[in-house]
Symmetry: C2
Subunit: 140 residues, 2 copies
C-alpha cells in the first residue's frame, strides 16, 4: 500500500496531494493514509505541509527512491525471526540457536533488500503505465 501511495505521488509529480485524495485513490480512509505518511516522513521520503490547500509530495525525484527504502520505512521493525520471546530453560539447542538464526535471517533480509533496491519508484510507475496500455490494447 505504501508503494501505491508513493506511486500516486510520483504520478502527480510535485503537486501536493491531500490525504483525502490519496485515500480515495487507495480506497481507504484519510487517517490510514496520514498514519502511513508519518512513517514516510520520518524516512524523509515525503514532505507534508499543514493547513488549507496543503498536502504531501515526494522529497526526491522518483528515480532516486528505491523500493528497499520504502520497505524499510514501512516495516521499520525487523520482526522477522525475532518473536522468540521464550528463554527456554532445559533445552540444549534452545540456548544457542537464537544467535545463529538471527545471523541467517539477517543475511536473508539483506538479500531481499538488495533485490528491492534494484527497482526505483520511477520504474514502478513506468511499468504500471505500460501494463495499463497493454490492457487497453487488448480490450480493443
Amino acid at each position: 500500500m505504501a508503494v501505491h501511495v508513493l506511486a500516486v505521488l510520483a504520478y502527480k509529480e510535485g503537486d501536493p496531494v491531500t490525504s483525502g485524495c490519496l485515500a480515495d485513490s487507495v480506497n481507504t480512509n484519510p487517517v490510514i493514509i496520514r498514519r502511513l505518511l508519518l512513517s514516510l516522513q520520518q524516512a524523509r521520503l515525503v514532505e507534508t505541509r499543514k493547513g488549507a490547500g496543503a498536502g504531501s509530495r515526494l522529497s526526491r525525484s522518483p528515480q532516486r527512491i528505491n523500493l528497499a527504502e520504502i520497505y524499510r520505512a514501512v516495516e521499520g521493525h525487523e520482526s522477522f525471526a525475532s518473536p522468540q520471546k521464550k528463554p527456554n530453560a532445559g533445552c540444549p539447542v534452545g540456548h544457542c540457536i537464537r544467535k545463529t538464526l538471527d545471523k541467517v535471517f539477517a543475511s536473508a533480509e539483506s538479500a531481499l533488500a538488495q533485490d528491492l533496491k534494484r527497482t526505483t519508484l520511477a520504474d514502478v510507475v513506468r511499468a504500471a503505465r505500460e501494463t495499463c496500455l497493454e490492457a487497453k490494447k487488448q480490450a480493443v
Copy 2:
C-alpha cells in the same frame, strides 16, 4: 520456531521424538507442535508415527534440508504483497500497479529464498553448537 523444532530433531538424529518432548524444548504446548508438524509432514520434511512410543523424525539427513524448504513449508501462503483486496475504481494508477508489484515482490521473495537455500539444517545445528561452546568458554 519451525527451525527450532527441526533443529531438535536433527540433534536427536534418527530417534523419534514425541510432540510433548518437543513442546518442552520450545517451551510451548504439544498441540502447537503437532500443528506445526502437520505442515512439515506435507512438505515431506518429517515423518510421524502414531501410537505408543511413537514420535517424529526427519525424513532426510539434515545436510539435505535447507532453510528455504522450511520457510516454504511453514509460510506456505505467499501473502507478501497480495493483501491488496481493494479493486479501487477511479484511480489511474490503481488498475495497473498490481501486476507490476507482484512481479517485483516475486523477484524479491525469490532472492530471499535463494539466500535461505544456502544454509542447511546441519549448518544451523553446527553453528549453534559452536556458539554454545563460545558462551561456555567466556563463562570460564
